[in-house]
Assembly symmetry: C2
Homo-oligomer: 326 residues x 2
């Protein structure tokens, strides 16, 4: 296992991404606050470059490369948002990128990844091992692997999202009771929890996952890295990692409070709410934290809670269907 990142690595990452990543707004919505009886601070990472928080970690990692030295470029595996982050960061840095993506990736995610000049290799989530495929391409190309979460630079980069949130609420003289983090492999969660352990240690940081893919919630309870029963079968395509990362779990184990788990119906309602009331486009996997608040899974009454709308890369067809179903 690599050395785990420290808080100072997040501060360094914040300097690196400045001017390239978007300093996304921390929004509040009067209707949402009234509905839940508390204050909900919304970190709108769907407004981030490439439409999700993933550009933060990707740029923190890839900006260190030297195009004249790293002529093999980068290789990554990703369900779609890390793919776009890596592809955009590689293009910006002037190195090539090959991304291993599931065949059932939403069209918008593959199209965007290609639009940043990356090459795509597809695989089947249920039957193939993406890490093995990626490692084969790394060897063949002499490339640098940019993993989606098991990497100190990636975790520190995603941590800037937590650092910005903590700094912004502190600037508003607000003490956050809870910070909800949409969780898959745990990179964003680990980075945010690390940032909060330094900036706002009394805030409880929670993972939020979709039903059937609650490996993090179960692992936090059992103390060991649990696996999901299935590799596919959720509308939250961004949150289907089979189990917590080794590094991320080592970081999160002692820092996270209970994890929350939301149903698909709750996620769909949250996507609709974001459309109708927040006027933000949020993908299903990006809406699980909002779903936890709207469903009452976390009781927000009288509390200050922050959520991250972690991505907005959703196909028009699915979005239209979610909006119009009753």
């Amino acid at each position: 296992m690599q050395e785990l990142p420290k808080f100072s690595d997040i501060e360094l990452a914040a300097k690196r991404i400045k001017g390239e990543a978007v300093l996304t707004p921390l929004l509040e919505n009067v209707k949402l606050n009234a509905l839940v009886g508390g204050r909900v601070f919304i970190k709108a990472e769907c407004l981030q470059r490439t439409g999700s928080f993933k550009f933060r970690g990707a740029w923190n990692c890839i900006s260190k490369l030297d195009p004249t030295v790293n002529q093999g470029g980068v290789v990554a595996y990703s369900s779609g948002n890390h793919a776009q982050g890596v592809a955009a960061a590689a293009q910006l840095r002037g190195v090539s990128a090959l991304i291993v993506m599931p065949v059932d990736t939403p069209e918008i995610k593959t199209a965007n990844t290609k639009s940043y000049g990356a090459e795509i290799v597809t695989y089947d989530r249920a039957t193939e091992d993406r890490v093995e495929i990626a490692n084969r391409h790394v060897e063949k190309r002499g490339a640098v692997l940019v993993p989606p979460f098991e990497h100190a630079d990636i975790i520190a980069g995603q941590g800037t999202c937590g650092l910005e949130t903590a700094n912004e609420v502190l600037a508003r003289n607000v003490m956050l009771d809870d910070m909800l983090v949409n969780c898959s492999g745990g990179g964003l969660t680990a980075g945010v929890a690390l940032a909060f352990s330094e900036k706002s240690p009394k805030t409880k940081v929670h993972s939020v996952e979709p039903e059937g893919f609650d490996d993090y919630a179960r692992s936090l309870r059992s103390g060991v890295r649990e696996k999901n029963a299935s590799a596919t079968g959720s509308i939250c395509d961004a949150l289907l990692t089979p189990q917590p990362g080794e590094m991320t779990f080592a970081m999160n184990k002692g820092r996270l409070a209970d994890g929350y788990v939301v149903s698909e119906a709750e996620v769909r309602r949250a996507v609709r709410f974001a459309f109708e009331t927040l006027k933000l486009v949020v993908e299903p996997g990006g809406a699980v934290g909002l779903a936890a608040v709207l469903s009452g899974k976390i009781n927000a009454k009288g509390k200050n809670i922050a959520i991250i709308l972690s991505g907005g890369n959703v196909d028009a067809g699915l979005f239209a269907k979610i909006l119009t179903e009753t």
Copy 2:
């Protein structure tokens, strides 16, 4: 005609709305900039309280009322966004509100208006006079009329959107070449142009309107207030005012550069672009400035241009249709 507002009225309005209105973010998008070859600054007023800029003017006006004195409350006529702004402001101030709205108002706009406790009276855009209806209710209730644009407080309130935009670009050391303002009666345009005349007088301020409802563009050319041929028939339900306001035109006449006019197809493309790339929900009438940029009606090459996404109150059914049509 009432006395026209001065720049100092916008500064006063900015103090009044602070803490109640959202200080909406001024966003940039790397893809949009690359596409048009310039820098486009996006004032995201769809993220404003009530989903459009209209809360600014409404609160600037209605916050002055005293519930114990103004027991008749307020009356307004509106195509839907001013309705929501007035209803929310009246609720916040503790006075009643009656709003005269077209029968063909999008469902989301009437539902939201009702959700703020307002009473709604409908009329037919083509055959009835909304001002006459509103005045009748004003008299009956002993209410205060809150017009959508012909009022110094309303114009000054909307001007805060321009003031924030100008202050923010100046803070980023950017000199704006052009400021595009979605235009109906001209209240937002007049307020923004007034703010820019003081804060950034070299920036050209333009009105943007949908085809068939380009009364402001034609009036600016002829020098007199021209009327539209029709009262209905555009997807931009927020921009169908029959002619420029007397006050707004008196303010805008000497301040505005040429007006832009965009087609319905260009508007639909802009709504889709905002969904896919900006991850923002924008209603058709709120997207005309973006449409002017994307269509090349205004050449953005090498320029700094600001646009206002003025509202996001669009019915789910229409939005779904715009997203999925090819």
